[in-house]
């Protein structure tokens, strides 16, 4: 049985336009992969397909050996898939800690006894460095804390695959440093966690991910070890929108 995630020939069409065209890549168990690309390249569409919000026109998503095609979005968390959103989707009337606790609410109590103290919502907030806002409402917490709270909530379901949709978007430089520290803390505590990180900040992605996949206009143009992909000329052209200075030199 293949562990991790395998995406095969995925095609997603909106009004006749291919947002994703026969995209294939895989993420091994415990690997952190950065999914990068310019605006409109299909990154968020890919996350929405992986999490079941969009139904692809063709192709398959296989996770830990299970084809997810017939699994609805709300049930994918039971398969071990959890995600965050570019704009945090927190319940406004619940405190930060209560929001985090909702991450473990997908299973009936009998099936899922309360998590051990080491994996409780309060503990995840402490690890991610935002426990001081545990009793605050999301509207009372900084944006960076709201984003980390959503990550903590996703971790409460004990996922084997975590999808992060632009976790650094809208954060200050200081908050980005805190985010990187928090994500490294997650890797320390969950070394087997497979992660797909969609992000514009290539430097941030490169500091965290050992592999990259690059989308451009819905097509996968590169996939492999981070440094190899970043050195790829096609990636430089597509992602930066210009030829490298090396090519430009006569």
């Amino acid at each position: 049985m293949t562990t991790g995630l395998e995406v095969r020939d995925l095609t997603m069409t909106f009004s006749g336009v291919d947002a994703l065209a026969q995209v294939s890549f895989s993420i091994g168990e415990g690997v952190w992969l950065g999914l990068i690309g310019p605006n409109g390249s299909g990154k968020s569409t890919m996350l929405n397909v992986l999490s079941g919000l969009y139904r692809p026109r063709a192709g398959s998503v296989v996770m830990n050996g299970h084809d997810l095609q017939a699994v609805r979005a709300r049930h994918r968390i039971r398969q071990g898939l959890s995600r965050t959103f570019q704009h945090p989707q927190l319940a406004a009337s619940l405190t930060i800690l209560e929001n985090v606790m909702v991450g473990a609410a997908h299973r009936p109590t009998a099936e899922a006894p309360s998590p051990p103290a080491s994996d409780s919502g309060a503990e995840w907030l402490r690890r991610l460095g935002c426990d001081e806002y545990a009793e605050h409402l999301p509207s009372e917490a900084p944006y960076g804390v709201q984003k980390l709270a959503e990550v903590a909530r996703a971790l409460m379901s004990a996922p084997s695959l975590l999808l992060l949709d632009e976790p650094a978007a809208g954060l200050s430089a200081r908050e980005r440093v805190d985010l990187v520290a928090a994500l490294k803390e997650i890797r320390r505590h969950r070394p087997t966690l497979t992660l797909c990180l969609v992000e514009h900040d290539v430097g941030l992605v490169a500091s965290l991910c050992s592999e990259l996949a690059v989308l451009s206009a819905g097509r996968l143009i590169a996939n492999g070890p981070t440094q190899t992909v970043l050195a790829d000329e096609a990636v430089k052209v597509a992602y930066l929108g210009t030829r490298s200075t090396h090519d430009a030199t006569p």
Partner: protein, 290 residues
Amino acid sequence: MDLLQASIVLGVVVGIVYALSGAGLVVIFRTSGYISFAQGDIAAVGLFVGLAAYKAGGGYGLTAVTVILVSTVLGGLVGGLITIPLERHGHLPAALSTIGVGLIIGGILNVTVGGDPRAFPEVSSAAAFDFAGVRLGWSDIVGMLASAAIFIGLGFFFRRSRIGIAMRAVNDNRFAGQILGVPDKRLKLVGWIVAGSLSGVLGLFVAPILSLSPVSVNTLLVFGFCAIVIGGFDSIFGALVAGVSIGVLSNLTSAYVDPNLVPTVLWAAMLLVLLIRPNGLFGRRRLVRV
């Protein structure tokens, strides 16, 4: 002074019952996002079945258990079979369906048991003790203790239990609830079941005072509705504070102004709160991303 004390003490006693009626409405609002207008009729069915059990020789304990059990099951059936499925068409059709359910239940009760008021047993008719010059009966004491226990239990349930927190989340951010796999329909059903049992408990307090008819609990639910508008639709604590305030205000108005002006004063207070704080004194203002 005696009149003032009596008005306040008895206002608190009856206000807690108002608060309890409001709490049942809050439970459904917190999970489903609308008000049920059928809770009084659901309680009435439980009370009539309970009264039949009492007349058949069952003691008060068996009667009370029967009332709560029937109300609980009926609340779950109404929610699970009618209103929750209707939510896919929006909150308004679901809320309107509760009016329809209430009218149907009331109509059936009128045909089967009749609309004449009848006596309903109370836990005890004995006087307990005097408090601030007011003689309180054991029924009052039991009612207040039970209400206090229910409010503490509801507070703990919604604040500390995983199910209670998830129930609040379901209505607050439906999209997030779905992506997190929260079993929203099951949790909403739990809300209806809890609200049904609260209606039964409320009926046990109301029926001995107002006597039992198909509309007796509904008569009191008007005050419960007023309590949650003033306290805040999503606040159990708000229902408690507003319910007691309404009870005291009603009694003071009745004692010092004119009993006929009680409804006028209450609705005026409600309108005033709506104008100043549309989400109620303890309700949360909803934030909308633009």
